[in-house]
Symmetry: D3
Subunit: 319 residues, 6 copies
C-alpha cells in the first residue's frame, strides 16, 4: 500500500515508495559520464527526479514510462523540489492501486449514487422516470457513470467527478420549484441528471484522465444527446414533445454559442440546467483555489476565475 | 374606483373611465377644421386616442398631461387599437389611486416584508444583524424599500419590485449552505438583502417609474455602497474586515465590468449574490415573456433573452 | 394559372388574379362606416391592400388567411405601393399551385439531382458511397431533399434551395484536390453532400417557409448528425474511425462556436466544408443584393454583408 | 549611501553594497555539500544570486527577506546576469534609505505640489476651491498624496507617481478652455486633481508597491468617491447639483465599463478627465518603452501598447 | 435671399420661400382624385409636405428633385410637422445660394485658413514646411481643403468642416510639447494638418454631402496617403525616414484596426494625432447633442456617445 | 556543400559542418575558469551549443554572429538537444549558400513563374493584361517577386513563398467562373496575382526573414496599393473605374477591419480574393501542423488554428 504521496514530500525527506515514472532523459556529465532525469507522479502531483549513479536500472525500468519503486532524498533545486534518486526497482501494474495514481472524489460514490436514485424515485412524470431508470437500472452504465470524471482539468477532474457534480446540481434543483412554482420539477431534475451524460464517452481514465477521439471530434454535448435519444427509442410511446424538451436541455446546457452550445436555452428549465451547471463548477473552482493556498489572505491569480481570490479572515473570525 | 384598464380593452368596447392623458397634438382636417390626437395610459399599458368633435375640452384638460375621465369607443386602426373619443372631463389627482397608474407587485408587500424580517432575525453574526436592523428598524427606510421598483423596464419594473426581487433571492440563498457547507450563510444573506439597496435612490415613481439624476450620474451600485458605508459608521466597533466584505459584495454584484461592476467577485459569497441576482431576473424575464404571449407555442423574439421562448405543451400535458 | 405577381405590379396596374390574403383589419371610417385593410402575398413578395366597399366579402373570405381572387388597382401611398380592392372572390386551395406562392429555385431540380448522383457515383471509398446511396436511393428522402429550402431567409430561402446550395458546393469541392493533393476527395465530397442534410427536418414549407419545433429546439446541425448516425448503423462493418470523421464534419460545418458549431474543424476536410458553405452562401447574398437593385451603382445597405455593394459599370464595359 | 544599483551592474563587475535579499533556497551540491540561491533587489531592478561558500551567513541573514550588505562578482548565466556571492553581512533597516529600494518620481515633489496648489488657487468657483483646499490644506493628506504611486506597474509606478500624473493632467487641462470655450475650466481642473485620489488608499509602499486589501476589494474609483463625498459633507451648503457632477467625474474616469468604470462619462468635462488620464498614461508607457531600449530602431513588443515601438532616427536627425 | 429655414418652422406658420423638393409621390384620394406628397429640405433639416390642389404644378416642377418656391401652412400630423402646400413655382439653380442648402461651418474660413498658415509658418523642419507649402501654396488645393466637409454625418458634416476640425487639432497640438518635451512639435503639427487630407476626395457636396466612389472604394486614409506621397515625390531630397514617419501618421490616425486603420500608431506623435482627432470629434458630438436639446436637463439617447447627455444646471449656476 | 542540418541531428551525433552562430555568452565556471554558450542555426531550425575548452576561438569567431564551421557531439540536456562543441573555425560568407540558411519553397520557382505567366496570358481585358505585363515583363520586379517570402512566420515563410501562395490562389480562382458565371474572371485573376504584391517591400531576407521599416510603418497592403497605382499611371488611358476596382481589391483583401483591412470587400471579386487568400493560408497551416507531428493521431495545440489537429488514420486506411 502506497504511503508516500508527492504533495506531502518536503526537502530532506527520504523517499521509498512506488511512483509512476516517465519523461526519462539520458544526459552527458561534464566529466564524460552520464546521468538520468525523469519525473515521478501519483494522484497528488508530480516532481522531477535526478539519478547520478546506477543509471542502468533507471534506463531499464523507466524505458517508456511505468510504475517503479523509487528510493532517494528530496532537495530544493532552483525553487522547485527535486528527488535525488539512489535506486529504482521494477513494480508490476497488478501490484499498484489505480486509485493511488488518478485523483478520486472525496465523496463516497455508493452514497452519492444512492442519493441520485432517490431523486429519480421522486419523479412523478412516468416517461421521465422510465427514461432515467432505463439508464440507471443498467448496471454497466451506472458503473461507468459513477466512475467518470467531469473534466480533464479545471473542476471535478477526478474519478467520480461526474457523479459528484450531478448530485450537487440535483440538491440545488429540488429547491427551485419551491421558489418558482412555474418550474417543472421533473423536467428540471431529469435535465440535471442527464445533462453531462456524454462525459462517460468523452474521457478515458487509464494512467491519466484524457479525452477520447470521439470526445474531441464529437464532444460530450452531442454524445449525450445521442445516448438519450437512443434510450428514448427503446421506450414505446414516449411523447415526442417531451423528447424534444429533454434533448434540447442537453444541447443547450452550455448556455451560449461561444461556450460550444449548439442551441441556447429556449425555456426556463433549460436555462436553469445551464445555470446550476455553471454555479456548481464555479464554486468548485473557488473551493479548489482556496484549498491550494492555505495560510494566505489572497490566492495567486486564477486563470478560470480571472482574478485572485480573497480569503482574508473567515467572517466568523472577524467579530 | 377605476374599472377599465387598457390591456382589457377590445375593439368595439365602450370606454368610460379615468386615464392619464398626454402627448396631445392638434391637427388640421382636410375640410379646414381641426382634430385632436393624444395617448391614454394606466398601469396596464397605453393606447392612442383620436377626438373629432368638442376638441376644446380636450385642448383645455389635456394641455400638459393630466388625469381625465374619457368616454369613447375602441376601434382597430392599421393593426393597432385606437380610442375614438367622444368626451373628456377633468379629474383631480387626489381622486385617483396611484396604484391604478403605476404597476405594482402581485405579492402582498406586508407579507414579503415580514418574511424579510424573518431572514434578518436568523442571522447569527451580531454585526451583520445590527447592520440590517439599522436599516429595517428605520421605518422611513423600510417604507422606501418596500415601495421601490427594481427597474424602469425589463424585470420587476413595478412598485414593490425591489422587495419582491430581494425576498426571492433570500429564499434561494438560504438553501445554498446546505449544499455548500463552506458558504457563510450570514454574509450571503446580508449581501442578498443589501445588494440593490441603492435603488431606493436610483428611481422615482411619480406618474411613471423614472431614473433620478443621481441614479443616472452615480448609479445604484455606488449609491448602495454609500448607504451601507454610512450605516456602518453608526455602529461602533464594526469589524473593518467584515465591512470591506459587505461593501465588496455590493460593488461586485453585477459580476463583470461590462455590466457596470466596478469590481468583479473576489470570494464565493460575492459571486453567489451576483449569481442569484442574475438567476432571479432572468426567470422574471422568462415569466413575463410567457405571460405576454398566451395561447401560442412560441413567444415573439425577446430582446433581453435574445431568443423567442418555447412554450409548447406544458410537460404535464404531454404524457 | 396565375399571371400577375406582386413584384411586377406598378402604380396604376389593374389587378385580377389569385393571392394569399391575410392580416385583415376592420377599421372605422370618419363618416361612421367601416373599411378593410389586408395584405396580398405570393412567391415574389407582399403588398398592402385597402377595400372601401363591399367589405362583407372581404370579411367573409379573408377571415383567417386564405387564397382569394382579388380585383383592384395599384396606387402609391406614402412611398409604398397599395392595392385598392374593388372585389374579392373565394378560391379553393386545390385550385392554386403552391409553386406560385412559395419561391422556388431557378434551377431544374431533376438536373441538379442527376448531377448530384453523378458526384456520388465518382466516390471511390466504398463505405462513403454506400452511405450516400443509403440516403439517395431512398426515394422518399431524395424527394424531401430536392424540395427542402436552405433557409427561412438570407440565402437559398426557396424550395429546392438545399439541393441547389449542395450542388454548388460539390462543383467547388471537386476542384480542390487538384490544387491540394493532400485532400481526401471522397471525404470532402461526402461532407459537402451531407453537411446540411438536417435541413430536411428543420423547415416546413406550407404556405410559407418556417422553422419546425425540432428545428428550433435541436437545430439542423444535430438533426443532420442524427440522420447520418442512424444511416451508418444500417451499414454493417462501417469503419468507426470513418464514422467519426463524417459526423465531425457535420458538427463542425459552422466553423466557429459563435455561429452555433458544437465543434470547430479539426482536420482540413472539415475546414473546407465550412469554407465552401460560407463561400456559396456569401456569393448568393451578393447576387441577391445586386439583383434587387437594378440600374444603380451602389445597392442599399445590406445587413448580412454589413456594407452597401458596389455595382458600378461592369468591368467589361469600362474598357 | 548606496552607490551600486542593479540596472548598472555589468558582467565582471565587483559588487559591494546593500540590497534587499529574498527568495532564499538551500540546494544540494553533487559533491554532497549545499549551496544557496537568492535574489537581490533595489529600486532599479532585480538579479539572481548564487553563493557556494560560507553559506551559513546567507542562511542566517536572509532567512525571511531583509536588507544585507553583499559582496561578489557578476557573471552571465544562460543569457541572464547572476551575482556569485562571496560574503553577506547584516544591515539594519534604519541604515537604509527607502528611496534606494522603491522607485521615485524624477520630478521634485515640492515643486510639483507647489504647481498643483497654483492650479487650485486659480479656481473661481468658491465651492470647488473650498473642496480642494479641504484636501490639500490638510497636511497629512497632502503628504500622502505627494508620496503615493499611481500604479503597481505599467505607468507612474513609483513614489510620487500620483502627484506627477495629476500635475501633467492639469497642465493639459488648463489649455482646453482656450480651444473649447464651452468647457467649464473649474470643473475640469477639479476633476483632474481629484480623479485618482482613491489611490492614496489603494496602494501601500513598504518594501514594494502593493495593493491594499481595500484597494483590491473596493478599488480606487470607489475609494476616491468616498473620500470626496466625505469632504463635501464637511462643507455646509455645498450645492447638491455640483456635488453630483464632481462625484460623477470620479466614477466615470475610466471611460468605459470594460475598464472598470461604474459609469460612463455623461458630460464633456467627465469625458475630458477620462481622456487626459488616458493620454498621459499612454505617453508615459511610450516614454518608458523607449527609455528601456536605448540604441535600437525598434523596441521589443510592448504588452500595454500591443505593438513594438518605432524609434528610428529622431526627426531632427533625418534632415 | 432665403429667409425661412426648416428648423424654425412652427405649426401654423405661413411658408413662402425656396426649398429643395424631392421624393414626390402621386396618390389616390378616396373620392377618385389624386394628391401629392413630397419632402422639402434646406441646410437646417427636412419636412414632409402634402398638396391637395393644383397638383399639376407639383408634378411638373418637382419631377426629379429640384429647387422650388413653395407656399403653404405648417400643421402637426401624428406628432410630426407637415407642410400643407397651396402653390409651387419653379426656381432656377443659379438663383439659389448653395450655402442655404448645405450646412456650413460657423467659423470664418478665411480666418481659419490664415490661422492654419500661421502654424505652417512656425514649422522649423525645412522638409516638413516645404511639404505643407507644396499643398497650401497650391491655390486650387487650398480652396478644396477650405470647402471640404469632414463627414457625411456625425461631426463636422458641413462645408468647411475639415478646415475647422484641422485647426482645432492644431490649437491642441501646439500645447503638447510644453507638457511633453520629448514630442517632436513639427512632426505632430504636420500630422494634424495632413491626417484627414484625403477627405477632399472622399466627399462631394453637390445638393447634399455624399461619398464619392473612390471615397467608398479606397477611403480617405489611403487617398490621403497617396496625396502626400505624391507631393513628397515632387520635393527632391526629401529624407526617406521622414517620409515614412509622415505617411505612417496618416495610415495610423484611426488608432485601431477595428476603426479601419491599416496600421496602429507606432510612435508617440502618431498616437497623439489619433488622440487629438478623437478628442475633437467627440467634443463636437457632445456640443451638437447639447445644442439640439435646448431647455432640458438630459438630452435624448445619442447613438455615437452611447448615452444620453447630462446638461443639468450649468456649473456656474449651481453656486 | 552543407550536409548536416539541425533538424536531423540526434543525441550522440558527431557534428562537423557550417552553421550560423550567434547569441554568444561567456560564463564563469565554478572552478574559476570560463565557458561559452551560443546558438547554431540553419534553415531547418536552431540548437543551443556549449563550449568548455579552447573558448578563445569561439570568442574570436562568433563575436557578433557569423558563419562558422563547428565540430562537436549532440547530447540531451534537460529534455532539449544541445551541442557540446570541441572546435570552431571561421568561414567566409562567400563560401556559404544562403539557401542553406533561409528556408525555400519546395516548388520549382521557374515552373511556378511560368504557370503564373500562363494565367496572365489568358486575361482577355486588355488593360488588366497590360497592367500585369507592366509588372512581370520587368525582369527586376519578376525576380523580386519570385524570391519574396509571404510571411515572417505562420505560413509560406520561406523564399519563394509569395509566388507559391499566389499561384495556388490562381489555380483556385480559374475554377470559380465555371460555378458562378457572374464572376469577372479577369478581375478575379488580376486581384489574386496583385493582392500581396506589397510583400516584395514588406520583408527582407538577409540572414533571416524580417520586416523592413516600411513594412512595419506602412504595411504590405498600402505598399501594394502604391505599386499598382504607380504602374497604372504609366499606362495611358487606363479606365478610372477599372483602376478603382483593382485598387479596392488590394485594400480589401484582409476582409475585415480587425485584420488590418482599410476597406471591407464591396463586390464579389474583392470578396473572393479575400476568401481564396484565407483558404490557401489556412490549408498551409494545417499542412505544416501535420508535417511537424509525424506518427501521432493528434498534433499539439496550434496557436493559429486555435485547436489541436486530428490526423488519425488516413481515410483511405480506415476501410
Amino acid at each position: 500500500m502506497k504511503r508516500q504521496f508527492v504533495k506531502d514530500l518536503k526537502p530532506g525527506a527520504l523517499v521509498n515508495d512506488v511512483f509512476w515514472c516517465s519523461r526519462r532523459d539520458i544526459k552527458d556529465r561534464r566529466d564524460g559520464g552520464q546521468f538520468l532525469t525523469f519525473e515521478i507522479r501519483d494522484r497528488t502531483g508530480a516532481m522531477s527526479a535526478i539519478m547520478w549513479d546506477k543509471i542502468e536500472d533507471g534506463i531499464t525500468y523507466i524505458a517508456e514510462g511505468s510504475f517503479c519503486h523509487v528510493q532517494g532524498r528530496v532537495s530544493d533545486y532552483q525553487g522547485k523540489l527535486q528527488l535525488t534518486v539512489s535506486a529504482v526497482y521494477p513494480v508490476e501494474p497488478v501490484q499498484v492501486s489505480k486509485a493511488d495514481f488518478i485523483p478520486v472524489s472525496r465523496f463516497n460514490p455508493a452514497e452519492l449514487m444512492s442519493e441520485l436514485r432517490g431523486y429519480i424515485g421522486q419523479i412523478q412524470n412516468p416517461w421521465l422516470q422510465q427514461l432515467l431508470k432505463a439508464f440507471f437500472d443498467d448496471a454497466r452504465f451506472a458503473e461507468q457513470f459513477a466512475q467518470a470524471p467531469a473534466a480533464v482539468r479545471v473542476h471535478h477532474a477526478w474519478l467520480g467527478g461526474l457523479l459528484e457534480h450531478t448530485v450537487m446540481m440535483c440538491r440545488l434543483a429540488v429547491q427551485l420549484p419551491g421558489v418558482y412554482p412555474e418550474i417543472d420539477r421533473d423536467l428540471l431534475l431529469t435535465g440535471c441528471i442527464l445533462h453531462d451524460i456524454g462525459k462517460v464517452r468523452e474521457y478515458t481514465a487509464g494512467q491519466a484522465i484524457e479525452h477520447t477521439d470521439e470526445g474531441k471530434l464529437l464532444g460530450h454535448i452531442v454524445l449525450g444527446y445521442q445516448l438519450v435519444a437512443d434510450r428514448i427509442r427503446t421506450i414505446a410511446g414516449f411523447p415526442p414533445e417531451l423528447e424534444k424538451q429533454v434533448l434540447h436541455i442537453i444541447l443547450a446546457h452550455h448556455g451560449e454559442h461561444e461556450f460550444g452550445a449548439p442551441k441556447t436555452p429556449k425555456f426556463p428549465e433549460a436555462f436553469l440546467v445551464f445555470f446550476l451547471d455553471y454555479l456548481d463548477s464555479r464554486l468548485a473552482i473557488f473551493r479548489s483555489a482556496i484549498e491550494k493556498n492555505p495560510g494566505v489572505r489572497w490566492t495567486e491569480f486564477n486563470d478560470y476565475l480571472e482574478t485572485d481570490v480573497y480569503i482574508g479572515e473567515p467572517p466568523d473570525k472577524v467579530q
